[in-house]
Symmetry: C2
Subunit: 249 residues, 2 copies
């Protein structure tokens, strides 16, 4: 199934922008009367009949709506410091989108070597990965803020998990922390190559963030971030499937 994205959806009609129109009509050669599948980027899939096969501005009539298409049973914000090598961050955005994430928030730590990040390209990557993985909601890519501001602005009801490397305190295995979080929106904070500063880590703990362990392996920033996102995905997968567990031999 090929998905198109449109943000102009009114009066039971979908209007594709020039880029999507060209892809639909010129590249895929769709003609008036063809059925196409369109997502609104906010979670709904629309089955449509193409009516105006215009490569500059295609229009289609909505036949059927599917809310929550390709959604996941959790709410996850990944706040991840940009990597020195931006390819690694872009890779994380693609993979986290495939797995299932609601918001990716680039955060700048006191020890971040990369202090600036262009989000436009990340948004394009998130859109393309959303279509490729058959989801209707595109992850939000937030504008970069400092780690400190991110922690201070986090909602009180969220389960905040912070992954960092200081060996000076007890960390909770990520799966155990999720069990304790019972249905709250999850926020995961991943530091830069140089780790969080002690002040950033102390602020997070003051504000109730739980220091979590991703296990003994020494993971790169982007690998730690994807491992944490996968832990959330798998946790809700296995808990929702608990009833179908195999008996132990």
């Amino acid at each position: 199934m090929e998905l198109f994205f449109a943000d102009d959806i009114r009066d039971a009609r979908v209007r594709l922008d020039p880029e999507e129109s060209a892809h639909c009509v010129r590249v895929l050669r769709h003609r008036a009367g063809d059925e196409i599948s369109v997502i609104d980027g906010r979670g709904t899939l629309y089955r449509c009949a193409l009516e105006l096969a215009d490569a500059k501005g295609a229009e289609a009539r909505i036949l059927e709506r599917t809310p929550g298409f390709g959604s996941h049973p959790y709410h996850l914000t990944m706040a991840v410091c940009p990597t020195k090598n931006i390819d690694r961050y872009e890779w994380f955005v693609e993979k986290a989108t495939e797995i299932g994430v609601d918001t990716i928030a680039p955060v700048i730590g006191e020890r971040s070597e990369r202090k600036v990040l262009k989000t436009e390209r990340l948004r394009r990557l998130a859109l393309s990965a959303t279509k490729q993985s058959l989801k209707a909601a595109i992850p939000q890519i937030a504008e970069p803020v400092s780690v400190r501001d991110f922690i201070l602005s986090a909602p009180d009801d969220a389960l905040g998990l912070i992954c960092y490397c200081f060996d000076d305190m007890e960390r909770v295995p990520v799966t155990a922390a999720l069990q304790a979080g019972a249905g709250r929106p999850v926020m995961v904070l991943i530091g830069p190559e140089g780790d969080f500063s002690p002040e950033e880590a102390a602020l997070a703990r003051e504000r109730g963030w739980i220091p979590v362990s991703l296990g003994p392996s020494r993971l790169r920033t982007e690998t730690a971030a994807l491992t944490a996102a996968t832990a959330v995905y798998l946790y809700f997968l296995s808990s929702s499937a608990a009833a179908r567990r195999l008996p132990s031999p």
Copy 2:
């Protein structure tokens, strides 16, 4: 900590090959008397004193051995069909090495678009990711075989898990399958973009492979492979840490 790799370790002495010697002596400017850390690629870390600082053939004396350095509490073979875009497969090799995998076996399915794969570059990537993630055992990169031959040659005591997309049968959530596997070596089989052929899937099931689900998300081949490897890693992390679980609020 910077790790060097050597396969010439005899009589309490370590001899670095020309490439590692140049990196140690020319790039990092180590001198005789410096302490260096060397891995044998089979699981042991050696703390050494550099004695011969020769950029073509450095030699060091072993001061201390640490077997099982950076090891993981499971045995995992990932049998993954090569992706059309080889970068994606190389990415998987790097990430799976960081997480912790014992063998990566490229397997060629009847529907694989890529039928050949050069393993030399994958071995270099695995070595570099092993050093970067502070492990002493380098994952084995097997030579490619057909999916059919891989299934027929799998050891009987292994827990075989096969991930594929046919909707015509019940699949077990991967975490539940691991619980049923209780301590057996784990083998995970991941198909190509075009999925396994029905014959390959049927053969696997005849031989006792368990069809597993990686959840509702539609994942690319390399993402599915890393998600499965991460599921194994996290399963053993959380089971080994079960005693440290947080109480639910």
